[in-house]
Amino acid sequence: MNTVTPIVLEAAHVTCTVPQPAHAAPAKSPRPRAVRPWRRGASGDARSESHAAPGKTVFRDLSFTVHGGDIVDLIGPSGSGKSTLLTTLALLNPHATATLTLDGTDSAAMTPERWRRLVAYLPQRPTLIGETVRDAITLPFTLKVHQRDDAGAAVREPVPDEGMIRRTLDRVGCDDIELERPPQDLSVGQQARVCMLRTLLTKPRVMLADEVDAGLDDENADRVADILAYAAHQGMAIIRVRHRPADGRATRTWRLADGTLTELAAHDAHSNEEVAR
């Protein structure tokens, strides 16, 4: 299947070095290794950016390509930098650098906002703002990136209407969610699904799902996976960080450990995942 669908995302020289806190002894060699669990390059660990400490290299010079319709499971020990890799691909990580192209267009050729609108990072923690679920879902369309192109001309991007939102909600198994409810009243599982749907309705090319099924019961985790499978079916490329057992929806599996990324053959994926956990 990968041979016929075009390459969507191409990444090279993907490197992330987190500055060490000033009080820590400088590492003797910048050997990539997983020292301790930490989240997203911009954590409390990295106190002073100006301090030119050698820093901890999370990963260096990774290269890979992702095709439309791919569902890539990203596995690896905790602290190996899986979330960091996703935020790097969305250009959200201040400590990372990468050469990225989307459908043949270099990331430098568009604004970071345009890139993030097309390569959408979905954070682990569901965050919904607005009075109602409807407001929360249509929030992205109030942003400039959906109203003007990079040259500043107005674009006519259709805002999903009531029926469209309802149909999509029902289709992805969210028929239990009423649009009039305040988003804070939803359960965590419902919030996770609404967050995913919010990103889905903006029709990105790549979706980077960061442990969005963590802390969900099996039923909700399965529904979340269904939404992603539906999106991949529409031609979206999906990379998801997961800590649960393989659910059979992934088309590829990558393992990130000690700063290197390995693609696992299909029959290895399951056993390797067992080892990783």
């Binding site: 409390g44 993030r116 959408a120 979905l122 954070p123 965050t127 903006t202």
Partner: protein
């Protein structure tokens, strides 16, 4: 205008005994705090002494500047006041990143220039145009208010951005610009900075007779003239404080983001 200033001397001047009695009253209040273990007596006494020394010093300086009646001296004094105001703003605002002095300086400078050019020269029209008695006192009142408002707004902005961290990251991930991601914090910070100013404007004249009007009336000025003066000063200071609050937010919100529009969590 000049008769208002000279009226000051004619009315009921306060002598050394007056100052002494005032300090004794503060000491009595501080003594009560000590007995009741309220714990504010030391700070109260220290603040009282500081304000006495600072106000007397300012009085001498303004008297000196009025006597010189030279525009350069007058503007030099205002420049010193602005620099001191920058320092006070930066120390008063808590938990803000380092290196914001240029932004604060620019904000205060714009306010003072607006005040001098628009308000003083268009509304009050003193003669000579640089009359130190008007320029220095007006700039002082403006700076006092603007310093309080911008310090509150900046503290609020950076703490609000920190508590909205997940929301900011979510918005950026959806393609929001730094301004769009920071906007809720900007709005709440400007509102918070403006609360004292607006409530002062709205409540003046009901129970509260503001200091400037009170001073003019005590000094023997026509209460209606004093009221008009006070309204102009309060309204102008409020407007300029709002401009200062908005300006400082526009100038500093970007420091929470990198050049690539990424959120700098540790700022």
């Amino acid at each position: 205008m000049n008769d208002v200033v000279s009226a000051n001397a004619g009315a009921y001047p306060i002598d050394g005994w007056g100052l002494l009695i005032t300090v004794i009253l503060v000491a009595v209040a501080a003594g009560m705090s000590f007995v009741m273990k309220l714990g504010v007596e030391r700070r109260m006494l220290w603040a009282t002494l500081r304000s006495l020394v600072q106000l007397l010093a300012m009085g001498y300086i303004i008297r000196f500047v009025i006597a010189w009646n030279n525009p350069w001296i007058c503007f030099a004094l205002i420049a010193v006041m602005i620099v001191a105001a920058v320092q006070i703003t930066l120390t008063r605002a808590s938990n803000i990143p380092k290196g914001l002095a240029p932004q604060v300086f620019l904000t205060l400078l714009v306010c003072v220039i607006l005040q001098i050019s628009v308000v003083i020269e268009l509304i009050v029209r003193p003669k000579p145009w640089y009359a130190p008695a008007v320029l220095v006192t007006m700039a002082g009142m403006l700076l006092g208010n603007v310093v309080a408002a911008t310090a509150v707004a900046m503290s609020r902005f950076f703490s609000d951005m920190k508590s909205r961290r997940y929301e900011v990251e979510m918005l950026l991930a959806l393609g929001a610009t730094p301004f769009e991601a920071a906007k809720p914090s900007i709005v709440s910070s400007v509102k918070m900075g403006m609360i004292p100013t607006i409530s002062q404007l709205a409540s003046s004249g009901i129970v509260l007779i503001p200091g400037m009007m009170a001073g003019q009336v005590i000094a023997g000025a026509d209460p209606l003239t004093a009221a008009k003066y006070q309204f102009v000063v309060l309204a102008v200071i409020s407007a300029l404080t709002l401009i200062a609050d908005s300006l400082i937010m526009v100038l500093v919100y970007r420091t929470s983001f990198t050049a690539l529009d990424q959120y700098r969590a540790e700022s």
